[in-house]
């Protein structure tokens, strides 16, 4: 048996899509898992200090989570997420993330970086996890078992998401308040922006607080998202971008939503183009009110709230008159 190891998993980036997989896998191996605390000012400051200034906010936040974990664990878990679906990529920064951290100039523990790359087939994702675990000394039978459990856990997580719960509701075992408004809002954005309450300045709870029901991209079945995303004139090669465009297209036709709030990171590469297409389309197509909120480390809470409140008021008035 191997000695007890402790692995750090940052509560950032695609934590919101994959955490149940990673948690179950390592727990089943008897590994102790340390998840970084929810993003706070200190984490953000650490990240801003450590990352290059040109990096987008989510990447800076990720650096902060890594540095917060660094003193407490034996290994850091930083998967290399290249592509989750054939013909797409997540984002160049995700592809280089383990390397960026390894060479960030701070003393950090060794990085475990299994690779997700749909081009190499589904099995490759499994193989790279098993390999990582075997390098830590776990035997194949055990790792295979752990992987099966983990897969099952992830599948049931995705099922719950599609049943209309948000990642945070599931992961933190919460219940959103009962909506008091008859309107539903679509909250668009990358999961690490809209579900990180510090980064998004509590956006989703503010919407709940005003009585809205909120839908997010994770709630649509992937098949439907794909079908809607395929309407673009050219195959869109960013997986998160497909999720956003597919979701927006779907709801714009459904006409069941009263407005769209789109959250983007300042300087986000894919969103600079995807967001532009979305906004132009929303304006032309359905006359659904559209609010674009841009986040970076300098975004002031006051300004953001004012814009949000004005937007929500506008939605209310539209329906009164």
């Amino acid at each position: 048996m191997v000695t007890l190891v402790r692995i750090g998993i940052p509560r950032a980036l695609l934590y919101y899509h994959y955490f149940p997989l990673w948690e179950t896998f390592w727990r089943n191996l008897g590994v102790e898992i340390e998840v970084s605390p929810p993003t706070n000012k200190q984490i953000l400051d650490l990240g801003v200090e450590a990352a290059v200034p040109e990096a987008c906010l989510p990447v800076k936040v990720y650096y902060g989570h890594i540095l917060t974990l660094a003193q407490k664990v034996d290994y850091l878990f930083v998967p290399r997420l290249i592509s989750s679906q054939k013909g797409t990529y997540i984002c160049p920064k995700f592809m280089g993330l383990p390397d960026m951290l390894k060479h960030c100039g701070y003393n950090i523990p060794a990085i475990i970086a299994p690779t997700l790359n749909a081009r190499h087939g589904k099995k490759a994702w499994e193989r790279s996890h098993l390999q990582a675990a075997e390098e830590l000394g776990f035997n194949r039978r055990l790792t295979q078992f752990a992987w099966q459990q983990a897969q099952r856990e992830l599948a049931s997580y995705h099922k719950e998401l599609q049943a209309g719960r948000t990642p945070v509701d599931i992961l933190y075992q919460r219940q959103p308040p009962k909506p008091t408004s008859r309107h539903t809002l679509l909250l668009l954005g990358h999961p690490y922006n809209i579900f990180d309450e510090f980064v998004s300045m509590n956006l989703i709870n503010r919407l709940y607080h005003r009585g809205y029901q909120v839908v997010t991209p994770e709630m649509l079945p992937p098949k439907l998202v794909e079908k809607e995303a395929a309407r673009l004139p050219k195959h869109l090669f960013w997986s998160l971008g497909r999720l956003l465009v597919g979701t927006a297209n779907y709801y714009l036709q459904e006409k069941s939503i009263a407005g769209i709030v789109h959250v983007v990171s300042f300087g986000c590469g894919p969103d600079s183009l995807v967001g532009e297409l979305l906004e132009r389309r929303a304006k032309k197509l359905a006359h659904v009110p559209f609010l674009l909120l841009t986040l970076d480390e300098h975004t002031g809470e006051g300004g953001l709230i004012t814009r949000l409140e004005a937007f929500l008021d506008m939605i209310e008035w539209r329906h009164v008159s």
Binding site: E54, A55, C91, K93, M95, G96, N107, C268, G269
Partner: protein, 387 residues
């Protein structure tokens, strides 16, 4: 049909030749100026990368001159370039500007795809004409790349400041005007003779600096604020990492026939970057290592401000710089970058390189590394660049 295309360095020379040979009327956009940049910035998404914005400026100015069709390249990600055309189409349409867009998608192992794109351009041209047009464009590209390389050697040693740049402009026109492959070679010979006539100071102690980074910022002087000229006139011999003819060769030709071989880049970069990251991110790392080991005095890294692959590269370069003992200076450029700011930083970098060279250099970087433990590299690089 009046065809236009985006500017990138002297790419307009072979492109003009290519389309003209096919019997297509060409509108070369006016050279990129502050107006072009302002126009493009005004109508493009704020965070779009700089090349997209300047392309828009090119298209708008070309449309004013009567262009009705844009020809440009596409891509398959992960970089934004592959989706430029789709976004640009929408921007132009919303402005009420009608430009047809012909997007040449990079052949993913299917030469037919590329030819299909070309075919919509030259429906009436037979294969011989297309071949001739290609041969002429290729000849121009080859000779210009070669002369550009010589230009860097000469400019660093010219006696009269500006004489190389002046000659280079004449050479561009000579090659641009040549209308057959033979005429291109004659123009190239003439050009070389003009270069030979420039008075040099052969014993000047020149520094050698390599340029790495994103292709558009490397090749478009209006965007990199003529960094090649600025460096040359300071007495620095520039070593360019990207030449258009190589780029066309690897990305269009070799890729199409599955012959592309990036093995060397991957191998060199492997200790620092374990994956392709789109654009030229990986090459930035591998080439910096290569330059360090070839004995260059320093490396300058150029990229548009929000460029994703180069942000990855920039995050890693400080470690490469320390390990390989080579100073690296990064410029992330946007529409507000000004020559004055660059000039000052270049001069500081130059002083650093000169001092290092005079001292017989090497070990000073390592020393700093030992002194600073945790806040490691950022401070190293800063101190390297400024003191």
């Amino acid at each position: 049909m009046k065809v236009t295309f985006p500017h990138m360095g002297y790419l307009y020379v072979p492109l003009r030749a290519f389309f003209s040979q096919l019997g297509i009327e060409v509108v070369v956009p006016p050279p990129i100026s502050q107006d072009t940049i302002n126009l493009g910035t005004r109508y493009s998404p704020e965070f779009a990368c700089l090349p997209l914005k300047i392309n828009i400026g090119n298209f708008l100015q070309a449309a004013e001159l009567g262009a009705d069709t844009v020809v440009m390249a596409g891509g398959i990600g992960p970089c934004r370039f592959g989706y430029y055309a789709q976004v640009q189409k929408e921007i132009l349409a919303d402005l009420g500007i009608h430009l047809d867009m012909i997007v040449l998608e990079p052949p993913q192992g299917h030469w037919r795809q590329l030819f299909r794109g070309l075919k919509s351009l030259a429906a009436n041209a037979g294969p011989v004409t297309v071949y001739r047009a290609g041969a002429l464009a290729w000849a121009k590209l080859k000779v210009l790349d070669k002369l550009a390389k010589n230009q860097f050697v000469i400019r660093a040693r010219e006696k009269v400041r500006g004489s190389t740049t002046q000659t280079w402009r004449i050479i561009l026109d000579l090659v641009d005007q040549a209308d057959s492959v033979q005429a291109v070679y004659i123009a190239a010979e003439q050009g070389q003779k003009l270069f030979d006539r420039i008075v040099l100071e052969p014993h000047r102690d020149v520094l050698k600096v390599g340029l790495v980074g994103e292709i558009y910022t490397l090749l478009e002087p209006a965007v990199n604020l003529e960094i090649e000229r600025l460096l040359g006139e300071m007495g620095v011999e520039v070593v360019q990492s990207v030449y258009l003819s190589n780029w066309v060769m690897t990305n269009l030709v070799l890729h199409t026939f599955h012959l592309r071989n990036d093995g060397e880049h991957y191998q060199l970069a492997a200790p620092y970057l374990g994956s392709f990251v789109g654009g030229h991110g990986l090459e930035t790392i591998s080439t910096t290592i290569f330059y360090a080991r070839s004995g260059l005095d320093g490396v300058i890294h150029l990229a548009p401000l929000t460029c994703m692959p180069e942000i990855v590269a920039k995050s890693i370069l400080p470690q490469v710089s320390v390990d390989e003992d080579i100073p690296v200076l990064t410029f992330m450029l946007d529409e507000h970058s000004a020559e004055a700011g660059i000039q000052t930083r270049l001069e500081a970098f130059y002083e650093l390189l000169k001092t290092r060279k005079q001292r017989g250099h090497k070990n000073n970087i390592k020393q700093i590394k030992n002194e600073s433990t945790i806040l490691g590299r950022k401070s190293i690089i800063e101190s390297l660049s400024w003191h």
